[in-house]
């Protein structure tokens, strides 16, 4: 029976592995941490319909049960190819031979320290979108690091995305809708808070996204201001002073807020450039893996028997990632049955 390696145990890897096991292949998931679910594991509720994230992860875990080997705490150190066989040297010292490989290494979040002017890890009340998500574990009002109830909050779009200075020209795709979702979740916990979103473009690209945006405006009075934050400074009372331009009015704008949330973007995952090099797969200018084309062969890489799915080939929502994973599984099936 053909053996397949799925590199990365996030939602893409779990879905691809499950579908391949359904097609009666022997599948190993090679996961560098000791849990499955990747980034989704750390999320509370998902846009656009507030589905609990754990539901998706639990469902994927249940599907996998006993059907797939999971090699936790493992990474690919070296790769070789002999005819149609792929030989992977893993960090646990073992060597494994596979007939096909699916790369599902996903993404990493932009390190907000690199945008020094935003004061992340200098001012305690500047946090990332991923850190805000931790507040949503319960329904309590959002508070500052000094335990003051947040009365004014600013969400900053495109942090580490659409920014050539930090090497990321690309759009991370999901942070616009995530900001709208999180703004609503703050409004539900702090009904009197003034909530501002500072954006360059609002990219509400998928079904129900525009509805959520409208709901944010009409039901929650959330305010959208077009303009990119230039800098943050801290006042004596630890509140934060923001400077930007309202680009629709063409005037500089100033305001003081209690909490700043940076919508950190997606970058290619740690070590995935090394992995791409080891497997002989090209990466794009944005460092994400490049499939043969992005229309009809988006799961097929230039190297025979190696496939890619999920955010390893660029930012995607969870729905898109799972669909991409299923499509990759079918590509693997076609490849193995034609050889």
């Amino acid at each position: 029976m053909p053996r397949i390696a799925v590199i990365g145990g996030g939602v893409a890897g779990m879905e691809v592995a499950f579908r391949l096991s359904q097609l009666s292949f022997e599948v190993d998931i090679i996961e560098k941490s000791f849990i499955l679910g990747g980034h989704v594991h750390k999320w509370q509720k998902l846009f656009p319909d507030f589905t609990p994230a754990h539901q998706i992860v639990d469902q994927l875990k249940n599907q996998l049960r006993d059907k797939v080997n999971i090699l936790f705490g493992n990474e690919v150190i070296k790769a070789e190819q002999e005819n149609t066989k792929h030989i992977l040297y893993l960090s646990d010292g073992t060597t494994q031979v596979y007939d096909a490989i699916v790369i599902t290494t996903g993404f990493k979040l932009f390190n907000a320290n690199r945008k020094e002017e935003y004061g992340y890890s200098v001012y305690p009340n500047v946090i990332t979108s991923s850190e805000l998500e931790e507040y949503f574990q319960n329904d309590k009002p959002i508070i500052t690091k000094e335990n003051r109830i947040v009365e004014r909050i600013a969400f900053i779009h495109c942090v580490g995305s659409r920014d050539e200075k930090v090497g990321n020209r690309h759009c991370s795709k999901v942070c616009c809708i995530t900001a709208v979702k999180q703004a609503i979740e703050v409004a539900q916990r702090n009904p009197d808070a003034e909530i501002y979103l500072f954006y360059m473009d609002l990219r509400m690209f998928d079904r129900k996204f525009e509805d959520l945006y409208l709901q944010a405006q009409t039901e929650y009075g959330i305010k959208f201001v077009r303009g990119r934050l230039s800098e943050v400074s801290e006042k004596a009372d630890s509140r934060l002073f923001l400077k930007l331009e309202d680009t629709l009015l063409g005037k500089p704008l100033r305001l003081t807020v209690d909490l700043v949330v940076l919508m950190v973007g997606m970058e290619t995952a740690e070590n995935s450039i090394q992995l791409a090099n080891a497997l002989g797969i090209p990466v794009g200018q944005d460092n994400f893996m490049l499939p043969v084309n992005c229309h009809s062969q988006k799961n097929i890489t230039g190297n025979r028997g190696i496939f890619v799915a999920g955010c390893a080939s660029g930012p995607k929502s969870i729905g898109e990632t799972l669909a991409d994973a299923r499509s990759a599984a079918l590509e693997v099936y076609s490849y193995l049955n034609c050889n």
């Binding site: 409208l214 405006q217 009409t218 009075g221 305010k223 077009r226 309202d246 629709l248 009015l249 005037k251 500089p252 704008l253 100033r254 305001l255 003081t256």
Partner: protein, 111 residues
Amino acid sequence: MPNFGFSIHSPTHIDLDKNYRTIFNYVKVKEPSIQKCIFCGSCSATCTASNYSAMSLRKVNLLLHRGMVQEVRSLTEQCLLCGKCYLVCPRNVNTRRIILLIHEALKMPLS
């Protein structure tokens, strides 16, 4: 006092720490559709008054959202209440009613 040719400009930036959104809130309660505006500018492009004045309903909406009342008065004075803006608005903002409510609010002692 001799004139040295200097003058003091009042600050031109938007200060959200000082602006009060009194008129916005007044309009919002009676005509919630003002909250739906996406500042697309369709209304301004078709506006009869914009041919001969600075009137732009998009700008009026935006100024109200930001609590900048001073400029709103002079802009809305130009409006002919023809309602063309209402016809083109993609968000179905009741533009004409908003202008009437602004007139109403501007007459009130608070503003």
